[in-house]
Structures are given as C-alpha cells and as structure tokens.
Symmetry: C2
Amino acid sequence: MNTLPNGEKILEAAKRISEYIHHTPVLSSNNLDELTNSKLFFKCENLQKAGAFKSRGAVNAVFSLSYKEIENGVCTHSSGNHAAALARAASLRKIKAHIVMPENSSKVKIAAVKHYGGIITFCKPTLDSREQTLEYVRRKTNALEIHPYNNYKIIAGQATAALELINTIKDLNIIMAPVGGGGLLSGTALSTSYFSPGTKVIAAEPKGADDAYRSFVSKSFVPSLKPNTVADGLLTSLGSLTFPIIIDNVHSILTVKEESIIKAMKLTWERMKIIIEPSSAVPLAAVLENHDLFATKRVGIIISGGNVDLDALPWFQKK
Amino acid sequence: MNTLPNGEKILEAAKRISEYIHHTPVLSSNNLDELTNSKLFFKCENLQKAGAFKSRGAVNAVFSLSYKEIENGVCTHSSGNHAAALARAASLRKIKAHIVMPENSSKVKIAAVKHYGGIITFCKPTLDSREQTLEYVRRKTNALEIHPYNNYKIIAGQATAALELINTIKDLNIIMAPVGGGGLLSGTALSTSYFSPGTKVIAAEPKGADDAYRSFVSKSFVPSLKPNTVADGLLTSLGSLTFPIIIDNVHSILTVKEESIIKAMKLTWERMKIIIEPSSAVPLAAVLENHDLFATKRVGIIISGGNVDLDALPWFQKK
C-alpha cells in the first residue's frame, strides 16, 4: 500500500481491525447543543482501546504486513498515544515492539507501554535524540519502523473513525478533527471525501502550534518549531504524506486560543461526563470561538483520546 | 401506588419514563477486569439526564400523578441530584418545582436547578432548617412534596436502572449499588428479585457513613448522625419505606474506607474515561477491598451519577 488509500483500502482496514478495536459510541449533549445552537455528534475515540484513535492505525499497520516483514518486531519513537497503541498492536500479533521514549515522558504513558509489553529505550527529549536513538534501535534489532502518521497504512486505519461516524450519523454538514502530524485529519478527510462528499472537513489547531494552519494557507510546508500549547498531542509537524491529503481534502483550518481549549475540555467533562484529553477539546474550542460558522449545523467531532494525567489538570495549573 | 411496587409497577414506570430519560449504556473495561479478576459491567447513570439516576424516580413520580394533585407544583429539599432531577421533571410536565436548598450547596448544583427552571428557597445547612423551610414553602404554595427516596413512585423509578441492566447483561452473579437514603438500593433490590432472582444484591457504603450497614446487621433503624465521607450523595439516613425492602431483598452491605473510594473513583476516570462522582465509586471500592468475594464473578455495578465539582477533586484535597 504505497499509494494514497482509496475508499476500498479504508473499507479493508475497517474489516482488518474490527476484531481488535472498539466500534466507539457517538454521544450527544442537549446541553452543549443549546450552548452552541448546533447539533454536535462526538465520536468517542477516548473510549477506544488504549484510550485513543491511534489503536486503529497501529493495528492496521501491524496486521497488514507479512510476518516476514515484521519478524524482528516493529519500532517507533513516541512520547504519547502511538507508543501504547503500537505496543498493544504488536502484542496482539505476538511480535516485539521497541519504543523510543523521551526520558521526561509522563509516568502514565510509560506505564501504558509497559502494560502492553513494549520494550522501552529512553532518550533525551529532543527530536534529534529521538531520531538518533530510534536509528540505533532499528539497526540493532532489525525491527520495522512504524511512523506515527506519515504512513499510508496508519492513515487508512485512522480513517476508519470517520467512516464509522458517517455510517452512524447521516447528513452531517461538517466533520471536525484536531491536527498535529495530520494522521487523524488526513484519514478523516479521505473517508469524508469518499463516503460523505457533501460534508465539509474543518480542522482545528491551537494558535500556539499553528504550523498546519500556516502550511495550509501558504500551501507550502511550515515546520512546527517551538510549539507551546496544553494540547500535547498536537505538537508535531505535518508529514510529506499527510500534508498533500489535507491540502486537497480539507475545507479550512481554524486556530484557537489556549483558554478556549481548557474551557472546551472542562465543559466536555462537566456536561458530557467523559474524560477527554486537551487535544480532543480543540475542535469544540473552535466551535465556541466561531459561533456563527457552526450555528444550526450538524457537526461531527472526532474526540481523539482520553489519556490525561489526573494529577495535572490544566484548570488547576493555569490559575 | 401506596403499596410496595411489584414487577408490573416497575415495568409501568419504565414505560412511563422512557421518552424522558436515557437508556444509558453498560460499559466494561478489560483493564479493570484484569485488576479485579472479575467481569464488571457498569450501568452508566452518570450519563443519565441531569447526570444521575435521580431523573428516573423524579420523572416517574411527577408523571404518575394526576394534574389535579400537582397543579400547584411539586416541592422538596435537596442539596444534590434530586433537586435538579425534580426541577427537570416538573419543567417537562409544565408545572412548578419549589426546591429548598442549603445555602452552602455547590454552585454547580444551584446552577443545574436554575437551568431547569426550579424556584429555589435557601435555608441553613441543617436538617431542621431544611424541613422547616420546606414546610413553610409547602404551606405557602400548596405544592406536593416529592421526597427524594421515601416514596414508592421514586423507588419504582430508580428500579428501572437495574431492570435495564438485567435486560442488557445476562447471568450476573451480583448486582451492586451504593446506599444513602436507599432509594436506588431498594429499587435495585426489587428489580433484581423480580427479574433476576438468581442474582445477589450487594450494597456498598462508606465506613464514615455506615448507618445503613448498622441498621442492616442489627435489623433496627440506626440514623445517620455525623456522617463524614467524600461520598456526598450518601449522607442521609434510610427511610421507613426503603429500609424494609433492603432488609428483605439485599444480600449484604459492605463498608469501605475513604482512601478506597478515592482510589476507585480515580481508577474509573483513568481506565474507563468517564466522570463518576465519589458516591458512584463506592461499589468498585468494595470490589477492590474484597477481592476474593468478587473474583471470577460477573458483577453489575450501578454508577449512580457524574456530578462533580471539577475545581475540588478529592485526590487534590486529600494531599
């Protein structure tokens, strides 16, 4: 699968991963609908295996490879949800997962990778150290690298979240996803263009990490240099595979303030009684900041994950 | 309905309330199953309308009365979930709800009652003041008092949560509920004895508010005098109607430590990604404290509610 995933590839991915992932629920809240004067449908990937949509792409990548390709295991560098998702997918396939993690990764994230049997190598918390350490691990183990987003199998896997949403809720005017490296967003955009072409895809990004927005409007790649946002899943730059998909299939990218992200996160916890991580609150923050754009619309929102350090909540830290 | 609700009355209640409440999901967690070596099924009343099972009883009570009985509205005293649930039920029936609330009630709870159009009269935070103020309001308005739990229509409404759980998950060995005034527990016990007589009902109560436990083992009513627990929904005494149902239909009551309640609450947030209030964590706390009793069993747990002040979480306060 070295070409852009078409509709058939996404349907194949959905079938491939179905026994290993949750078909997550779509929840609504009258309360939030009244507040925004729109009809919001939340696709709850926070309730996904390993607590994030990343399980979809990881399982699709690991299970679509031949045993020969992955007999020495898989490897990646990640401080976040992709690490746990890949370790889990590898354990299901009964192969090894070598995970390079920055030494300042959260205890919760490290524990999750260990829980799924991932073999961790710690590195310094810089991109250089992450890449060099991964290269060292890859050469030593001959494991196959599975990039967190710049990989068509990962993208096809992430695309299945929007596919399920489209199959569950009809006549959406808009589907929203947050954007970091662009794996979820490009998958969402592909599924929407294939399976619900009348629906607009609108991405949301923190103003403090607005490289995708700047890349999108200038139509030329802008790297994420010094991102500064509470949305710790959205710090990375777009990839060479995700960026063109986004340019071709996304209607617009909205950037939001930090205070809106925290407000949207807390509002979701309070009114919907579900735990979402800061990155997942970015689309609702965009709805709150752009009331007129979403009023009276039927809006699907992909809630990307629910992995939060409950001892370090942003509304305590920001005070 | 001045006699003990039989199975037919509970089925009638389920039908009566169905258009006004959520048929809440039953969620599971492999992670918690592994941790407890049991199979746990959580009936998520935290995702219920107004954030708690109380909506069931309140809607059943308000909608089973004739218009003549409630033409002057309904009234109650409550600092918690019953207040919002009754205000909501009254607004659905287009009648007034007069709610007596202690002046130290949380802002969130006061806002919820106002959101549903409840007319609030504040009182001192003592039982005497609550009862005297309610009596004053009742005489002035001629509203009908709807007690939060010592009322067969309320009990029949609360019983519908266990009924839905039993209809969704087969062959449960145990069904658990927390116990405060006993409305949820007595309803749960009645539904279980009628619709799944092979299933044991085990209640859970904080050691710091163990009046139901002491009433149960001594078979004579013990009031809740100076309760001291983070589980703020479980402070009240049993009622004259709930106590006999509990004596006749509950297998046992387990009491749990405060630290277990906080641990179980945090564990549920972390692993299941749902917001539950401290009172709802009491049954899981009992499972954690009594490993052997629940190992290998299929256990249904009624999650009573999800109304939490996110600015005052117990794991921050206890440090």
